[in-house]
């Protein structure tokens, strides 16, 4: 047993479609240490969302194994939190009640008062103080995404899975949310997997970026983003960041089949 919290070992998976099996993942290896935050990038349709569904236990791979905290994943588990590009808030509930939804499913030692306090605390952390009693439709897209983030964290999950959570937001709102995300990461002790198609987002938020190859996906490239201080948006405009982005962009081109695998980075 290794000390990784999330361990994906030689996972292979194909969807059964009307036109025969569609191989999506092929020999995928991912390993995330406890407290780590990994960004996964790759061409559209390469199998990133499939990867999140495997980690969450929403489906089983044809071959290979998924391990969480030293336990083989066989089905859904309450130690996982998920957020998607679509915030999927329930329109008939207030923001507060939306955030508290997982606590109605997951067994928790918290009392009702503690649960509410926990939800309010998270909402304050992401800057939604004062919006607890609003309906989702009264909030902007960015605010809804913040609420969705709170809901994914309210039950104190070990693993946080984010599938392109900022993908539908405009550039400025997105950068606001990146900073919120950093703040949340400091306060909440989770191990994270972030799917994204924004390379700047991946190097800003993650401490490791994994590039997946085109479908069927395998791990094509891994980049570590070491850091020992609080990140700021200015970090994205350094020569170091420009070089990282260049390398990643080139890797994506390889994954898309638009550049030869042995070519030099531009």
């Amino acid at each position: 047993m290794s000390d990784a919290l999330i361990e994906i070992k030689s996972v292979r998976h194909a969807y059964q479609t009307a036109s025969g099996p569609l191989p999506v993942l092929d020999g995928l290896e991912v390993s995330v240490p406890e407290g780590g935050f990994v960004a996964v990038v790759g061409p559209s349709g390469c199998g990133k969302s499939t990867l999140t569904r495997l980690i969450a236990g929403l489906m089983k791979p044809d071959e290979g194994e998924v391990w969480l905290h030293g336990e083989r994943v066989k089905g859904p588990r309450s130690t996982v939190g998920m957020a998607f590009q679509n915030p999927v808030l329930l329109e008939w509930r207030s923001i507060l009640k939306n955030v508290m939804l997982p606590l109605e499913i997951v067994k928790t030692p918290m009392t009702a008062a503690q649960q509410e306090a926990r939800a309010r605390e998270l909402l304050a952390l992401v800057g939604l103080e004062g919006f607890e009693d609003k309906r989702p439709s009264e909030l902007s897209g960015g605010m809804r995404q913040r609420a969705s983030l709170c809901r994914s964290l309210v039950h104190k999950p070990e693993v946080l899975i984010l599938d392109e959570p900022f993908g539908a937001l405009d550039a400025f709102t997105r950068e606001d949310l990146w900073q919120t995300m950093l703040k949340v990461k400091e306060e909440e002790p989770f191990t994270g997997v972030l799917i994204t198609h924004d390379l700047r987002e991946s190097i800003f938020l993650a401490d490791q970026v994994i590039v997946l190859s085109g479908r069927p996906a395998r791990t094509q490239y891994v980049m570590d983003i070491p850091t020992n201080r609080t990140r700021t948006l200015d970090d994205l405009y350094t020569p170091e960041a420009a070089e990282r982005l260049n390398i990643l962009r080139h890797q994506i081109e390889i994954a898309q089949g638009r550049a030869p695998a042995n070519g030099e980075a531009a």
């Binding site: 969450a56 859904p76 588990r77 309450s78 998920m82 679509n86 008939w92 997951v106 009264e138 039950h155």
Partner: protein, 252 residues
Amino acid sequence: MLSKIAVPLAAMLVFLVLWEAIVWINDWPNYIMASPSDLPAAYSKFWNLFLIMGWQTLWRTVLGLILAIVFGVVLGMVMGFSRTMRDALYPLLVGFNAIPKATIVPIVALLFVGAHDFNTVLIAFMISFFPIAVSVSIGLSTLEPEYRDILRSLGASQSTIFWKIALPKTLPEFFGALKVAVTLAFIGTNLMEIVSPHGRGLGALFDSGKTNSDYPLMFAVLIALALLGIVLYYIVVWLERVFAGWAERQPT
């Protein structure tokens, strides 16, 4: 607030005045067209019949509608959750719905001669369950997978997902269909009441007005039916506001 009541009331008044004026200008005798001024006489002469018959029409419509809701929701759930069942049942349902119900009414009336209440409730039910079944099945089958996944990834059961997400999310469509269904059920009830011999309810009162060439009575029944229809419709609107009011756009 005032205009919310005053405007429809004024519209109603204008309608009555126009009606009266047209009858008066054309000098129609009341066996061609009764005028609003003939109605009070008809109501005061038969008020107890209106109450008894009105109640009969009301309870059969409502009972038929309740059966349609129960059956429609169950059918909608079956079709909403199972692709196979949807593929199997949908053409059958569409075919059944395409048959003009006016042709079913005499068949049912003959099939269960004498069972008048049963016939009427049956037609009200048959005519109104379709939109409910369709709306529930569409509401359930178009639920975005992410909605299921946020609960399923926590280990929630199918029934928890149904009660916490699928059902409430389908309510706006359900009430939209219920508004159509309540009107249909009402039509079904009246068709049967008018067609079956020795019928009951406002439809039968209408029929007896016809037999006796009592035109003011026939028009009085029409107005009473309209009123009952309006009341039923607005009860559904009120229920919708209570249970699915969240789906209404906030005026901003």
